[in-house]
Symmetry: C2
Subunit: 239 residues, 2 copies
DNA sequence: GAGTGGTCTAGACCACGCA
DNA sequence: GCGTGGTCTAGACCACTCT
């Protein structure tokens, strides 16, 4: 975490510059960046240095390189962001795309737990969303999403909320979700689990608590999902 | 998965050569590789090409580069492999190192489930290990590990089994575990859960089913862990 | 100071997508 | 055929480690 910049390689400076351009919306999602040559000339560095910076951006999934065509800012499409962060799949690996239902949106003031999870100031206004998620029409989990309104003013003018929130964060607020820390535990079904996903009380429930972290390191969202894993399981590859 | 080699970049060939050297034990874990210059001269390619191959090996965590010293084959030490694949932590992020107890080892013939998970031939001999895992002396989960004996002959001459099996796979059989696919689900505690980790029947249990994949892509181990997540949760970072 | 990996450059040529 | 990213080379210099 120290990142002490006692010595800052050129390609790192180029990287930072490019991130800034994207984060500030100078190049919009889906747009093509200038060519390596053009960037090198503009920044007065060699093409190889630009290339190294672009390669890093590509592994960070911020841009996409297409040989023969150009370099593009990655668009947080529904499929992309869902496949990246929605980890439920049928056993064996087939991933599934969820839909949403029974959505409740309300504004309130951050409680201690919200403050701790999102590193907010006491009294900060937040948005809380509750919704059920379905795969192939059947409810498999429900989630409570807490979002700081300071980072996303008037987010609740959308109703219902789009299925893929991260695309919205990027498109309308310029907030790119770069990574997510998830904590999983097992629990027993109770009240809202029973009502929303139709399991019986005392059934096993997989709980996922996720902090979504934006490119600049700030915490953009806290999401707790409670899932029925009888037919869809949580799938992850460690490497 | 196709990897069709209709055109094979030089650095890729160098990469494959280096992997082969390591996999065949020509360079042992902990040893230093020849310098970039030496490798370039030996393989008749430029230093830049060797460098690109070495960089890829480093991101694959097969080697470690230390500026001013040299390039070393990564040693699958206990800490390393446990921190990489053992995902239980206290809420908030503090990772913990487990110990083992109550181990049972037996040889048997692969059942249909083993055959499916490990892609074995019918009738293949396997080793099954059951053991309880403790953090800070308290049992938090137990696991059943299935290992093909063809890949690890006479693995059961060790007793008890070392705490970090992957270090053993690497040291004695030259098998490097490169990645792991995990499937998580929630379940209710029953028989062996109650006996081994002291939860009451019907308590929530987090089940983790893991396939460990070796460098060459073959499936080296199937492990099912059943965990009590009241004090330690499963923690993962998606990016 | 010698040897290692890390950065940076300049230039050539290859593979690909498209008009 | 042109423009793009992808590969490969050769060489210079920098930063780090150890003797």
């Amino acid at each position: 975490m120290d990142d002490s910049p006692r010595y800052r390689p050129l390609y790192r400076q180029v990287y930072d510059f490019l991130v800034k351009q994207i984060a500030e919306g100078d190049w919009r999602p889906g747009e093509m960046l200038p060519s390596e040559q053009a960037l090198a000339a503009k920044l007065r560095v060699s093409q190889g240095t630009v290339r190294k910076a672009l390669d890093t951006l590509a592994t960070d999934k911020l841009i996409e390189r297409r040989q023969g065509k150009g370099t593009y800012v990655v668009e947080q499409t529904q499929e992309l962001s869902l496949f990246r962060f929605f980890r439920l799949a049928s056993p064996g690996g087939q991933r599934a795309i969820p839909t949403s239902a029974a959505e409740i949106v309300k504004r309130r003031v951050a409680k201690p737990a919200d403050i701790q999870q999102l590193h907010l100031d006491p009294g900060a206004p937040i948005l809380e969303i509750r919704r059920t998620r379905l795969i192939e029409g059947r409810p498999v989990c429900w989630e409570r999403i807490v979002i700081p309104l300071k980072m996303f003013p008037n987010l609740d003018r959308h109703h219902p909320m789009p299925n893929a929130l991260y695309a919205l964060y990027q498109r309308e607020y310029g907030v790119n979700i770069a990574s997510a820390d998830e904590e999983l535990s097992a629990d027993l079904a109770r009240g809202e689990d029973v009502r929303r996903i139709g399991v019986s009380a005392g059934a096993p429930i997989l709980q996922i608590s996720r902090i979504a972290v934006a490119l600049n390191g700030s915490r953009a969202e806290w999401r707790v999902s409670r899932c029925d894993t009888r037919t869809f399981i949580y799938s992850v590859q460690l490497s």
